[in-house]
Amino acid sequence: MFRHDMKRCLREGLPLAAAGFFVLLVLIPFGTAAVPGDSIFEVAVTHEQMKYRLIADGFVPAVQGFSVLLGFLLGFAMFRFVLDPGRSQTFFSFGMPRGALYRNRFAAGALLLFLAVFLPLAAALVLNLAALGGYPGLAAAWLYLAFGLFATALASFCCAMLGCLLAGTAPESLFFGASLLALPYAVSYAAGIFLKHLLWGNPYGVSPYLGPGPLAPSASALAAPFDPVLFFYNDLAKYRMFYRPLETDTPDPVNPAIVFLWAAAIIVLAVLGLHLMRGRKAEQAGFSWKSPAALHVCAFGPSLFAGAFVFGLAAAVSLWFGCALGAAVYAGCLWLARRTAAGGKPAAGQGGGIASSPAWQPLFAKNAAGVVVPVALALALAAGAVIGYGAYASLPDAADVKQVSVSYVGSPNTLGAPAYGSSADTSYYDSALYSYSDSDEIAAAIELHARFAADGRRPLAGQDVFAETAVPYDVRFAYTMKDGKTKTWYYDRASFAQLRALLETEKTQTAFLARDYALGGGLYAADPALGASADAVAGAAPGAGNGNADGGLVWAREAYLGGAVYLTDPTFREMFSIGLSGEDRAGLLAAIRADEAALSFEERYFPQGEPLGILMFTQAGEDDLAAWSYHLNNAFVFVGEGHAKTLAFLKERDLWLEKYTAGAARADEIERVIMQDYDPYIGMNAPAFPQSPYFMAYLSGRPDAFRIIKDFGKADEARDPAAIEQIAKELRSNYYLTEPGCLVCVQYKGSDKWVYKFWPGEHDAAQHEME
């Protein structure tokens, strides 16, 4: 009888397993060896460095996803007999204990899954041996992949099986099974959303606008080992192939702990299934929602997911609104589940499966408890998200901090650290960290950090007070404690006032040394107090070692040391190429460094007038002359009265030609100006990506290429000489834009080019407009 039953189970699951086998055959051996142009048999693919590839690159998600699906469907197919009144009665009336019925179905399903997963992988192994030969680590990787995928499919099988044993009908069982399968992800997703919106500044799951991300693993990534769908995904991607790098000839050894962990979990699930099978009420077949406790447990995940999703959307508008709406959706979903379970009446505690277990009944026996428990679970999750992962609500004590790295918000022309950058003609943005080790600087950095923490998450919208307007920005405070621990805060936005406060770090000694380094100097590297090595290479830059290096290059320094040099004046009408010998370049940079060192903070970022001339160091050749705008391969020096040594050096070598530097404030040569209020949130298309607040003038062939390219509505145009004269006196080619002002587009007489500048201060642009 038992053998007959086993045969029947195998026969019942065989069509599905066979279909799964053929699909996996396509996804695994076919995918790695038979796709033209991407086969392990082609040297152009292997480059003789690929030692094995059991699963091709693009097939990993499909293999993972299909293994989960196959396990789920097979679990449903094996145990759906309990959902049909006729079938369940027939099988339960036979002379077989329920435990034996269960064991046969579980064993048959597991065997079929094993074959469906192992055989395609075995074929891939044979093909690898044929194409690439044997290699140390191949056998271990193959075995690990095979058992890992099998465990993935079997975990999914168990969820479907439990769904059947808890449910009374097929749709209900599919809902229960899928809910169980997705429950860990739903919980971790909700935790991630709570973290994001309730714990301002935490870096979990956050990807910065620029640079690699996430800064810390997301809640879902942290929960992946406990997620039946995802627990093996990373290892599947990692061990499926070995492409030998230069530094090693062996793949990483396999660590099968996660597969053992899930093997243990599967045993627990299997025992739970046996318990449910033995306790199952045959009369439940054909009746939906007769297991209210199971429904509550399974409805918790989807309800939480829905509530968290809505909360996430609404919290972007208002945190309180998000909380209210998310809680309402969560409660609504649970109420719906409860109503469905009880048929409109509080009949919880009846039915089969978990509901019949005395351990659960106290939780669901009464109407109030059925509400209180899920609410308590959600609140516990939210509280856990807030206080979990470490105390992000309190900042480190300065006395415990060895070093703090803070986002750099100053001029890219003196950015002395490796950076990630983004630039266009009209805007630019660099992301880099400066590390501060001096106790006073650390204290100042913590004070700055406290301001971010206290101000909270501000909406990305215009404000009545301009300086309080928040814009997208990467702001990081990364602490290295004296005990070696590290902790990072991340903020995805900053108000103009906050950016202005961050700019104050430019007054520190660290920033001074970094400026010197960017300008080709070696003070930073040579300063023994900073513990840096003597070689003035990028690795010695202030931001190096923060994991922030983009190829380790300090862009500005590269431009200063190797770029072509051009000179122009603030009208950008004529440009002069300055040919420099190596000695002259060193001399010029030394003069600039000396002048920059003597400049005050205000002179650098808030100059009172236009510069006398502008030097551009560029590695992009003459292309930069067309726009004279910043990108990663160039750097500018706005030469003003304060640059006495620079001016003297250039004049001494006859490189400072008056005709190129005479247009500083010649209002009579301006044809017209077009003005727009500088407000990122005027008009349509609010900014979704950061821009540096440091403004540098640029050229354009179009009159509407304002720094923020968007629909501002009507621009104000002035042609009146008196108005133009007044405006021209106050224009700036370089300025730190954290206060109200106007973006101004200037056209000079006899030129078809447009020059973009900044007009600081509050102005009524319309009053200058010509009638």
Binding site: S93, G95, K281, A347, Q350
Partner: protein, 246 residues
């Protein structure tokens, strides 16, 4: 002997059986009657070990039946809607049951197929209701159970087949000394083929005793049944009188 001792059973909070107790003797046929929804089928499912009673127990020759593999192997219940495999033929159902039922008798199966004139290779899905009932009867007798439970056995059968079945049942009990419980609303057929009668009314056992005693007191089983049923016939009178009004 099948002993039903104080069996109570409910569905999701609704009581269906309340303290039912009686015994069906070995080598005899016990009739189980009751109104629609009285709980006859539920009781048979408890007797064959599919349902677990909430109170009381069922003993088959002294042993409890629930999760008793040996006793369940000697039991067969022919339900009103016997389960047939999707797309199965009578032969396929033979293969199915022969593997699960240890006392299966192929000779009886072959003889009954011939007697009922049913082809083993014909798909059951193409059978009429009566033919499906005949197929069920063939499978039930071929299983040669010691405890045979027949739910609405005459349902769908024509008069000739009902008589054949009644005779077949008597022969089976005589030959195998089996214990049989039969339910049916066809009281006329039932009356002549049973030794004992049990009636369930409002979830409780209303009567149990020899069928001869019923005959003595009420003349026929039908008379007794109708006497027990409280039907408000006046409520059905004139329901179509003002139906459409046109």
């Amino acid at each position: 002997m099948i002993e039903i001792k104080g069996v109570s059973k409910g569905y999701f909070g609704t009581s269906v059986l309340d303290g039912i107790s009686f015994a069906a003797d070995t080598g005899a046929v016990c009739g189980l009657i009751g109104y629609n929804g009285a709980g006859k089928t539920t009781l048979l499912r408890v007797v064959c070990g599919v349902y677990r009673p909430e109170a009381g127990c069922v003993l088959l020759d002294g042993e409890p039946v629930y999760e008793n593999a040996a006793k369940k192997a000697e039991t067969f219940m022919l339900t009103e809607d016997l389960y047939f495999l999707p797309g199965a033929t009578l032969g396929a159902m033979r293969d199915f049951y022969a593997g699960y039922v240890p006392r299966w008798d192929d000779a009886v199966f072959a003889r009954l197929c011939a007697a009922f004139r049913l082809e083993r290779g014909q798909k059951i899905g193409s059978f009429s209701k009566g033919m499906r009932r005949q197929a069920g009867i063939i499978l039930a007798f071929a299983a040669r159970p010691r405890y045979l439970l027949l739910d609405e056995i005459f349902d769908g059968l024509d008069l000739a087949m009902r008589r054949v079945t009644r005779a077949l049942l008597a022969d089976y009990v005589r030959e195998t000394d089996a214990t049989v419980i039969v339910t049916s609303h066809n009281l006329r057929e039932l009356e002549d083929g049973i030794d004992k009668i049990a009636m369930i009314r409002q979830n409780r056992l209303a009567y149990v005793g020899p069928v001869a005693e019923i005959r003595e007191k009420h003349g026929t089983l039908e008379e007794y049944f109708l006497g027990e049923r409280e039907v408000d016939e006046a409520a059905f009178a004139g329901v179509f009188a003002d139906g459409r009004g046109d």
